[in-house]
Amino acid sequence: MAMLLAITAALFVAVLLVLIRLFAGPTLYDRVLAVNTFGTLTVLLLSALGFVTERPDFLDIAMLYALINFVSTIAILKFFRYRALGRATASGEDV
Protein backbone atom coordinates (compact mmCIF):
# COMPACT_ATOMS: atom_id res chain seq x y z
CA MET A 1 0.00 0.00 0.00
CA ALA A 2 2.73 2.45 0.93
CA MET A 3 4.42 1.72 -2.37
CA LEU A 4 1.27 2.47 -4.34
CA LEU A 5 0.67 5.71 -2.44
CA ALA A 6 4.26 6.71 -3.17
CA ILE A 7 3.83 6.03 -6.88
CA THR A 8 0.56 8.00 -6.83
CA ALA A 9 2.40 10.92 -5.26
CA ALA A 10 5.08 10.68 -7.97
CA LEU A 11 2.35 10.65 -10.61
CA PHE A 12 0.83 13.81 -9.13
CA VAL A 13 4.18 15.60 -9.21
CA ALA A 14 4.59 14.55 -12.85
CA VAL A 15 1.05 15.76 -13.64
CA LEU A 16 1.89 19.12 -12.08
CA LEU A 17 5.04 19.45 -14.23
CA VAL A 18 3.12 18.51 -17.37
CA LEU A 19 0.39 21.04 -16.51
CA ILE A 20 3.07 23.74 -16.24
CA ARG A 21 4.20 22.92 -19.78
CA LEU A 22 0.59 22.83 -20.92
CA PHE A 23 -0.14 26.31 -19.58
CA ALA A 24 3.17 27.78 -20.70
CA GLY A 25 3.03 26.59 -24.29
CA PRO A 26 4.57 28.38 -26.16
CA THR A 27 3.76 26.64 -29.45
CA LEU A 28 0.75 24.53 -30.13
CA TYR A 29 2.84 21.41 -30.54
CA ASP A 30 4.16 21.80 -27.00
CA ARG A 31 0.57 21.79 -25.84
CA VAL A 32 -0.38 18.72 -27.87
CA LEU A 33 2.67 16.90 -26.56
CA ALA A 34 1.79 17.88 -23.00
CA VAL A 35 -1.82 16.73 -23.44
CA ASN A 36 -0.65 13.41 -24.81
CA THR A 37 1.73 12.89 -21.89
CA PHE A 38 -1.02 14.01 -19.54
CA GLY A 39 -3.22 11.26 -21.00
CA THR A 40 -0.54 8.63 -20.35
CA LEU A 41 -0.17 9.88 -16.79
CA THR A 42 -3.95 9.75 -16.30
CA VAL A 43 -3.98 6.13 -17.45
CA LEU A 44 -1.32 5.32 -14.87
CA LEU A 45 -3.08 7.40 -12.22
CA LEU A 46 -6.39 5.60 -12.75
CA SER A 47 -4.68 2.21 -12.55
CA ALA A 48 -2.91 3.28 -9.35
CA LEU A 49 -6.21 4.59 -7.92
CA GLY A 50 -7.79 1.23 -8.69
CA PHE A 51 -5.13 -0.46 -6.60
CA VAL A 52 -5.26 2.10 -3.77
CA THR A 53 -9.05 1.74 -3.46
CA GLU A 54 -8.76 -2.02 -4.07
CA ARG A 55 -11.17 -1.93 -7.01
CA PRO A 56 -9.27 -3.23 -10.05
CA ASP A 57 -12.33 -2.63 -12.31
CA PHE A 58 -10.92 0.87 -12.70
CA LEU A 59 -8.51 -0.65 -15.16
CA ASP A 60 -11.31 -0.76 -17.73
CA ILE A 61 -11.47 3.03 -17.70
CA ALA A 62 -7.70 3.26 -17.83
CA MET A 63 -7.77 1.05 -20.90
CA LEU A 64 -10.46 3.20 -22.51
CA TYR A 65 -8.31 6.28 -21.85
CA ALA A 66 -5.25 4.70 -23.40
CA LEU A 67 -7.23 4.32 -26.64
CA ILE A 68 -9.26 7.56 -26.55
CA ASN A 69 -6.18 9.62 -25.79
CA PHE A 70 -4.48 8.22 -28.87
CA VAL A 71 -7.51 8.94 -31.06
CA SER A 72 -7.79 12.55 -29.92
CA THR A 73 -4.05 13.20 -30.29
CA ILE A 74 -4.14 11.88 -33.85
CA ALA A 75 -7.30 13.90 -34.57
CA ILE A 76 -5.70 17.12 -33.31
CA LEU A 77 -2.54 16.61 -35.31
CA LYS A 78 -4.34 15.50 -38.43
CA PHE A 79 -6.32 18.69 -38.12
CA PHE A 80 -3.20 20.83 -37.90
CA ARG A 81 -1.38 19.07 -40.65
CA TYR A 82 -4.15 18.93 -43.19
CA ARG A 83 -6.32 21.81 -41.95
CA ALA A 84 -9.38 19.57 -41.92
CA LEU A 85 -10.55 16.42 -40.20
CA GLY A 86 -12.33 14.85 -43.12
CA ARG A 87 -9.73 15.26 -45.81
CA ALA A 88 -7.49 12.25 -46.24
CA THR A 89 -4.49 13.49 -48.17
CA ALA A 90 -2.48 16.64 -48.59
CA SER A 91 0.22 15.88 -51.12
CA GLY A 92 -1.05 12.71 -52.73
CA GLU A 93 0.33 10.36 -50.10
CA ASP A 94 -1.96 8.00 -48.25
CA VAL A 95 -2.61 8.73 -44.61
Binding site: L17, Y29, T37, V43, S47, L67
Partner: protein
Protein backbone atom coordinates in the same frame (compact mmCIF):
# COMPACT_ATOMS: atom_id res chain seq x y z
CA UNK B 1 9.09 -22.27 -2.74
CA UNK B 2 6.48 -21.53 -0.11
CA UNK B 3 3.84 -18.82 -0.74
CA UNK B 4 5.35 -16.36 1.75
CA UNK B 5 8.69 -16.32 -0.07
CA UNK B 6 6.97 -15.87 -3.42
CA UNK B 7 4.97 -12.96 -2.10
CA UNK B 8 8.10 -11.36 -0.68
CA UNK B 9 9.91 -11.78 -4.00
CA UNK B 10 6.95 -10.29 -5.89
CA UNK B 11 6.87 -7.34 -3.50
CA UNK B 12 10.59 -6.73 -3.96
CA UNK B 13 10.26 -6.99 -7.75
CA UNK B 14 7.34 -4.55 -7.85
CA UNK B 15 9.19 -2.21 -5.50
CA UNK B 16 12.18 -2.14 -7.88
CA UNK B 17 9.93 -1.60 -10.91
CA UNK B 18 8.03 1.20 -9.15
CA UNK B 19 11.21 2.94 -8.03
CA UNK B 20 12.96 2.83 -11.42
CA UNK B 21 9.74 3.66 -13.30
CA UNK B 22 8.87 6.51 -10.94
CA UNK B 23 12.35 8.00 -11.22
CA UNK B 24 12.21 7.89 -15.04
CA UNK B 25 8.68 9.34 -14.93
CA UNK B 26 9.79 12.29 -12.80
CA UNK B 27 12.94 12.90 -14.87
CA UNK B 28 10.90 12.84 -18.08
CA UNK B 29 8.26 15.21 -16.71
CA UNK B 30 11.02 17.50 -15.44
CA UNK B 31 12.63 17.40 -18.88
CA UNK B 32 9.31 18.36 -20.42
CA UNK B 33 9.53 21.60 -18.42
CA UNK B 34 13.27 22.16 -18.64
CA UNK B 35 14.31 21.40 -22.22
CA UNK B 36 14.46 24.38 -24.59
CA UNK B 37 12.12 23.60 -27.49
CA UNK B 38 9.41 21.26 -28.71
CA UNK B 39 11.88 18.99 -30.54
CA UNK B 40 13.95 18.22 -27.49
CA UNK B 41 10.81 17.89 -25.36
CA UNK B 42 9.63 15.09 -27.63
CA UNK B 43 12.38 12.92 -26.20
CA UNK B 44 11.48 13.78 -22.61
CA UNK B 45 7.88 12.79 -23.34
CA UNK B 46 9.28 9.60 -24.86
CA UNK B 47 10.98 8.76 -21.57
CA UNK B 48 7.67 9.20 -19.71
CA UNK B 49 5.63 7.24 -22.25
CA UNK B 50 7.95 4.28 -22.65
CA UNK B 51 10.16 3.42 -19.70
CA UNK B 52 8.23 5.30 -17.01
CA UNK B 53 4.74 4.08 -17.92
CA UNK B 54 5.69 0.52 -18.79
CA UNK B 55 7.77 -0.06 -15.67
CA UNK B 56 5.00 1.25 -13.42
CA UNK B 57 2.52 -1.06 -15.16
CA UNK B 58 4.93 -3.97 -14.70
CA UNK B 59 5.19 -3.09 -11.02
CA UNK B 60 1.40 -3.19 -10.73
CA UNK B 61 1.36 -6.55 -12.51
CA UNK B 62 3.69 -7.93 -9.83
CA UNK B 63 1.31 -6.55 -7.18
CA UNK B 64 -1.76 -8.10 -8.81
CA UNK B 65 -0.38 -11.63 -9.06
CA UNK B 66 -1.72 -13.92 -11.75
CA UNK B 67 -5.30 -12.82 -12.51
CA UNK B 68 -7.54 -10.93 -14.91
CA UNK B 69 -6.11 -7.70 -13.54
CA UNK B 70 -2.66 -8.68 -14.80
CA UNK B 71 -4.11 -9.36 -18.24
CA UNK B 72 -5.76 -5.92 -18.34
CA UNK B 73 -2.55 -4.23 -17.21
CA UNK B 74 -0.65 -6.10 -19.92
CA UNK B 75 -3.19 -4.92 -22.49
CA UNK B 76 -2.83 -1.30 -21.34
CA UNK B 77 0.94 -1.71 -21.62
CA UNK B 78 0.57 -3.11 -25.13
CA UNK B 79 -1.71 -0.23 -26.19
CA UNK B 80 0.78 2.32 -24.87
CA UNK B 81 3.67 0.45 -26.50
CA UNK B 82 1.93 0.54 -29.89
CA UNK B 83 0.32 3.98 -29.75
CA UNK B 84 2.94 6.17 -28.06
CA UNK B 85 5.49 6.13 -30.93
CA UNK B 86 2.72 6.90 -33.42
CA UNK B 87 1.53 9.86 -31.37
CA UNK B 88 5.11 11.13 -30.93
CA UNK B 89 5.76 10.79 -34.64
CA UNK B 90 2.52 12.65 -35.39
CA UNK B 91 3.61 15.57 -33.18
CA UNK B 92 7.07 15.66 -34.77
CA UNK B 93 5.70 15.40 -38.28
CA UNK B 94 3.07 18.09 -37.74
CA UNK B 95 5.67 20.45 -36.23
CA UNK B 96 8.06 19.74 -39.10
CA UNK B 97 5.42 20.39 -41.73
CA UNK B 98 4.40 23.60 -39.95
CA UNK B 99 7.98 24.82 -40.46
CA UNK B 100 9.15 24.67 -36.85
CA UNK B 101 12.85 23.75 -36.70
CA UNK B 102 15.00 22.75 -33.69
CA UNK B 103 17.01 25.49 -32.01
CA UNK B 104 20.78 25.41 -32.57
CA UNK B 105 20.46 22.72 -35.22
CA UNK B 106 23.84 20.99 -35.64
CA UNK B 107 23.26 18.96 -38.77
CA UNK B 108 20.32 19.24 -41.15
CA UNK B 109 19.91 16.61 -43.83
CA UNK B 110 16.20 17.20 -44.32
CA UNK B 111 16.84 18.45 -47.84
CA UNK B 112 18.25 15.04 -48.74
CA UNK B 113 15.05 13.32 -47.71
CA UNK B 114 12.43 15.74 -48.95
CA UNK B 115 12.74 18.41 -51.59
CA UNK B 116 12.80 21.77 -49.81
CA UNK B 117 9.82 23.08 -51.73
CA UNK B 118 7.38 20.24 -51.23
CA UNK B 119 5.92 21.47 -47.95
CA UNK B 120 5.98 25.22 -48.41
CA UNK B 121 2.23 25.46 -48.86
CA UNK B 122 1.62 24.44 -45.23
CA UNK B 123 3.38 27.41 -43.67
CA UNK B 124 1.19 28.68 -40.81
Amino acid sequence: MDPVTIELLLNIASGIAFTVGGVFLLIGAFGLVRLPDVWSRLHAAGVVDTVGAELILVGMMFQAGFSQTTLKLALIGLFLFVTSPTATHAVANAAFVAGIRPVRLRRNESGEVIGESSHKEFQP
